[in-house]
Amino acid sequence: MNPARKQRLILILLAVGLFTVSVILLLIANRNQVNLFYSPTDIVEGEAPLDRSFRAGGVVVHDSVWRDTDTLAVTFTVSDNLSEVTMTYTGILPDLFKEGQGVVATGTLNENGIFQASEVLARHDENYMPPEVARALEEARRRGQTPDYNNAGGY
């Protein structure tokens, strides 16, 4: 093999090796950092994990936002029109957090079925519905029309 080719081969092997190593390290370091999305119906049906963080979202139910009088704790309920989940959060909510608005939160579920959010996201455009929430609503609507779930929705 001529020296120029050999040099190129070594470099390519080096690049591929470096790439593989960094991807593997990244996967190992962050294996718990992929947040899956669960809709309120998923959570009510017990599909969501209890031991790790995930994302959940839905539309904030009217008159469900309740603020603590002394701290920055907030409690609210999100719904996909089929099921509801209560969320708690301590801190400042985004400007676009409103009743009737779609939100997505990251956090963990406790044994009482309450979602403790560490981060709440609402989007910049008020006409915009987060895609996960839109899909969850669609899914719930579809299931709401099948006979099995006609009475399970609670409305």
Partner: protein
Amino acid sequence: MLPEFGFLALIFAFLFSLALGVLPLLGYYRQHAGLMRLARPLGLGAMAFLILSFGVLTWNFLNDDFTVRYVVNHSNSMLPWYYKVSAVWGGHEGSMLLWVMILSFWIVAVAAFSKKLPLDMLAVVMSMMGLVLAAFNAFLIFTSNPFDRVLPFPPADGRDLNPLLQDPGLILHPPMLYMGYVGFSVAFAFAISALLIGRLDSAWARWSRPWTNVAWVFMTLGIALGSWWAYYELGWGGWWFWDPVENASLIPWLLGTALIHSLAATDKRGVYKGWTVLLAISTFSMTLLGTFLVRSGVLNSVHAFANDPSRGFFILLIFAVFTGGSLLLYALRLPALQAGARFQWVSREMFLLGNNLMLTLYTVIIILLTFAPVVNDLLGLRTISIGPPWFNDITTVLAPLLVLLLGVGQWVRWKKHDLKPVMRWSAWALIASVALAVLCNWLYAQHINWRVVLGLSLAWWLALSTLKTLYDSTHKAANPLLGLRKLSRSYYGMILGHVGLLVMIVGVTMATQYEAHQDVRMAPGDRYALGNWTFEFREYDERAVANYETQMAFFNLYRNGRPAGELLAEKRFYPVAGQLMTQAGILGQLNRDLYVSMGEPLTADRETWSVRLHVKPFVRWIWLGSIIMALGAGLAILDKRYRRIKLGET
């Protein structure tokens, strides 16, 4: 009638750009000088009609023509005139029109500044850009007509510009970023033309370099502006969120950075021609992909435009045609390329290759992480989100490697450098950098944080390397000052670019590691201490301004009990859009920002608020570093050598 004229102008612009894409290219194949000479007038014609079209849309905004749907959705009669102008690019259709108009500016700029370029090369370059222009023009006409009417019952008033966009930073951010995005089409067109004509020589690289630099300058400033805007306007105090759309701009920026460096090697030493061409193609492809990401709404992003999937499909089609076509051409023509000059393992060429390897690797991983959720969705799996830790980790690993290479690469000689002096300098400089970093960390915080030491070591390493670079290139001169004056502008451009990176590293390290923040409940008269700093909520007030109502919180700041300034944080309510917006109060100093954003009123009398307090050391250095980098790249453009390019020079 006026909006219809705007649309008509758009159609004429499309016809001109289509002609520009076809006729000069045909002229090249027929070797017909007359057809090739058509490139300039056709480019000018396309630009003239696009300016006309853009002018009409702007006029509609300024005159509150609410028969135009786009104006209704993005403006309001109460909006101040300058925001009416910036509202032109406040939504999808208008910002695409701006995109296309800027592309036509670039085309005309190429025609104007390339008088010495051979006619056939100029014709093919302009044709390629004409094809891109035609594709996006068609996209506007068929899927995103900004002149759509709401007839016969136009609303009395518009729905107002998204309040988040009513900000001076946002007037400039999109045009800057688009100048960058679109500017990379010049390097792309040069690369494709060189492939087509078979003239991949050093002259080609030298032609491409200033254009690539200009695009890179705009892109750098555009991204920095976006980051700065997010910092003070979103109220979270963050400066980078790893949001898909941010990544969509970072990806071409990183590849563009790699391109600038590989172009240097191709220009100076005639090496890496194939790789440089591939980078030019990829950089432009990634700007197309970025456009697709923002417009299609496939990714969950803060920037998402709510719109229909046909637009995404159209852009994906444009992306596929241009990327696929150029890669095919690349594969067909590559074997004809001659291998460049030889060089040793320890040489500038090799370090530049290392730079490219790191930047490309980093880019590929960011692409994978950004698109993983989309692929996941396509597979019908449960929606996932990939959080910032992924991106931060890979940056913490790859950035130091890149900077280590840079510290040697900027002074090592072309072709061959002895290994021994390189090793000796590296060893000493490494020890000195770490020692200085530990010292700085201790002096600043009286404790040692290994992440801070890592960041500051890299900064010192770059600083020592820069001094060494300057010393090496001047110590032979009789008078060092004279030696400094003799160095070229592009040389100083390189030094400045790397100093900018140094400043940015300090900013990122300190702002990430020593940032302190707290969400608190405060009423006027309350004080809260964060480290040495005390925030005092002095006074609360409300006022109606132009098109919004503002709720203002005045703060006094104290450092170790002594007054240190004041700031005003605002919560604005925009009644037309029914939207609240946070305007952070910032007391900016070179070495730290004190930052207050208002949450929400907690009592009925609106006197008690939830408030977020931040102390952010050195955060300004992040943007300062970006500006220095951009200045460096700008300075390099002014180098005399780009004005003396002869034909066929290798």
